[in-house]
Amino acid sequence: MKIEGKRRIWKDYQKEIAEDRYFYVRSCVRQNFFPGSERTFLRIMKDELNKDVFENAAHTTCSGIGYHSDIVPFETVMTMVARQFALMTESGYENFTTSCITSFGLYTEILETWQHFPDVELRVREHLKKATGREFIVPKNLSHASDVIFKFRKEIANKAKFKLINKHTGKPIQVVEHIGCHYSRMFPSKGVGGAEYPYVLVGMIEDWGGEVIDYPERRHCCGFGFRQYLVQANRGYSLSCSKKKFDSMAPYKPDCILTNCPGCPMFLDRWQYALSEMEGITYGENGQGIPVLTYEELAGMMLGYNPWDLGLQVHQVPVEPLLDKIGIPYNPEQKFLTLDGMSIGKPETPTFLKFY
């Protein structure tokens, strides 16, 4: 592997990411999957970086999952997205930042469509006006929240309490990065680092002290792939996709997997449990799994936030082995307690996957 080759490609795919004043839109699924992530993003942006991030309560789903499952037509989706732009305009913001990768891909696709077919944009404006009376300006800057964390990765590194270093060996933590397909595969120039060797997560990992693993099935689907999961009969396919990835990365002994999409951490995390129950396979050391993180969770860990405030207790693959390697303290007694000390219930102990 020639790292200078990758660096050359990374140089070719730089993108403009706004400096401040973000209109932030949440994902419709992430809060169920990884409930601490979006909250952590806001905490980092506001408390650590002093940035202006605004949310509008009237924001709805962009219906991207429906669109990519061939349920919601493009015309409808465009009008819904136009409404989100109208909310941004009404709130006095110009920089649009999405939490979800599918939304980001969809917004990018729509803005590109309008750029090439201005008559489509005019038609959508008309539809929106008729349906809601609203008008909008097109965002000056569109970014995914991982772009924003990438932009401020060095500031986060400066404030960090921990580094991605294995405290027992002194060596960098070995990280597998997995990018959501809708981040840059459709429009490589819209993603930091392009589509084939994206840099957005690599940049965070490197600047926070870790090392990235390049394994053969790096580009393979996480297992979500929309219809391969959403259509129930296809779920075996979803599971085999994830398995293919785990089998391919396991020889490199990754300490964790880092993701920037709602679906990827969900499937890479939950399917490890499913595979352990079905086949008795575990991919980490001594019956452990490979912990799967969102970039907000990892940033929060580096900044020394309490792992349970980050929502790490709802991961199916326990994160404790990674916390131990880095030396991040945690209180096992509080793992399944709410902020005000109530029990959130304890999951059943898996048959094979080591539970903490």
Partner: protein
């Protein structure tokens, strides 16, 4: 710098009432040298300008030529010897500007006196597709991904083909159409010679490494010329080279630097994943930025593929819309040596007619 091949130096800024007409050939590959050799040097002043230190163009880098596998040097020597002694060859020369004024062309080379001429031949050839642009193939990133150009160099230098770890490769993938027939990189055209080059190189690898398994992944095998099809048969029957109809989708590196390639076998209708020790990318022709720059200065037209356009693709394929400017060889698009030499000879005839009669078409 003046090359040893030419031994006379005429004054470059000329009094044209007393002097012979002058032809300036830009590009010293086989096309440019053949034009120089085919023109009557006693009737014209001929100046050949080559940007590299030595003339020869791409052919100087090739080892043996398809289809017969004769040494490329033989052809190069023939073409070089065909040039008369009084052809002035200026090597290592970069053209800064060129313009036409009242049927005369003035060229400025870096740091030298201007050269004035009555006709200009563009024989600036082609560039090879930069394989790094097919990012998914991992050229420049994975150690064991090389190009057909690099393989020729290995043969040319008489080296043994090894992996980056110095091991003898057991299995090699040859990938066709890299940078050609590919909408994604913006090149729709076929580069014509890479199919047969791939077949030739596969045989040459087999000659060097009889135990090595070779898999060629192609879209179509374009064996268009004499003895090409026979070479393809020989590759299969005598050398056991496997030809699989399918395009490579991506390449990744295994631990230990072998490569995993994903492709499909369109004849059986199955996706295919295979581990190989190295892959060879058959890179295609692309128009060179230098040619485009000169073409802009001369107001020449380019086709959709970016190569230069002649006045008429059928019956005036060497003249251009600018009287006195001629095109020859691969500057007009992919071409093999036979076609390049024939084209260059035709160009010489057309220039001669133009300078004698004033008719450029």
């Amino acid at each position: 710098m003046e090359c040893q091949l030419g031994n006379q130096k005429p004054p470059l800024f000329l009094n044209f009432t007393e002097m012979k007409k002058r032809i300036i050939i830009i590009g010293g590959g086989i096309a440019g040298m053949t034009v120089a050799g085919a023109l009557p040097s006693n009737e014209f002043d001929i100046i050949l300008i080559e940007k590299e230190i030595l003339p020869g163009g791409h052919v100087a880098k090739w080892d043996r030529l398809f289809p017969s596998r004769r040494p490329a040097k033989e052809v190069l020597d023939f073409v070089q010897k065909s040039m008369a002694k009084n052809v002035v060859i200026k090597t290592g020369s970069t053209i800064t500007t060129i313009h036409r004024d009242q049927n005369l062309f003035t060229l400025h080379l870096n740091g030298e006196e201007p050269i004035v001429g009555d006709a200009v031949v563009l024989a600036t050839g082609f560039d090879l597709f930069d394989a790094r642009k097919k990012e998914e193939y991992g050229y420049g990133i994975y150690n064991n991904v090389i190009t057909s150009e690099e393989l020729e160099q290995i043969f040319h230098e008489g080296k043994k083909l090894t992996t980056s770890e110095g091991k003898t490769p057991q299995r090699i993938g040859i990938i066709h159409c890299v940078g050609s027939r590919d909408e994604k990189v913006g090149n729709l055209y076929c580069s014509k010679v890479c199919c047969v080059t791939g077949v030739k190189q596969a045989i040459e690898i087999k000659e060097m490494l009889p135990e090595c398994e070779i898999f060629s992944f192609y879209m179509d095998l374009r064996m268009y010329d004499r003895n090409f099809e026979e070479l393809y048969y020989e590759a299969q029957q005598k050398w056991g080279i496997n030809f699989i109809r399918g395009r490579l989708s991506e390449c990744a590196e295994n631990p230990g630097h072998s490569l995993i390639i994903k492709t499909e076998d369109t004849l059986t209708g199955h996706p295919l994943k295979m581990t190989v020790d190295m892959i060879i990318l058959l890179v295609g022709f692309v128009p060179s930025p230098e040619t485009k720059r000169i073409a802009r200065m001369l107001d020449l037209q380019t086709g959709q593929d970016g190569f230069l356009l002649s006045s008429d693709e059928h019956y005036n394929d060497n003249s251009t819309s600018v009287p006195g400017v001629f095109l020859t060889g691969a500057v007009k698009g992919p071409a093999c040596i036979v076609n390049t030499i024939a084209d260059a000879r035709a160009t010489a005839l057309q220039i001669e007619r133009f300078l004698i009669t004033g008719i450029s078409e």
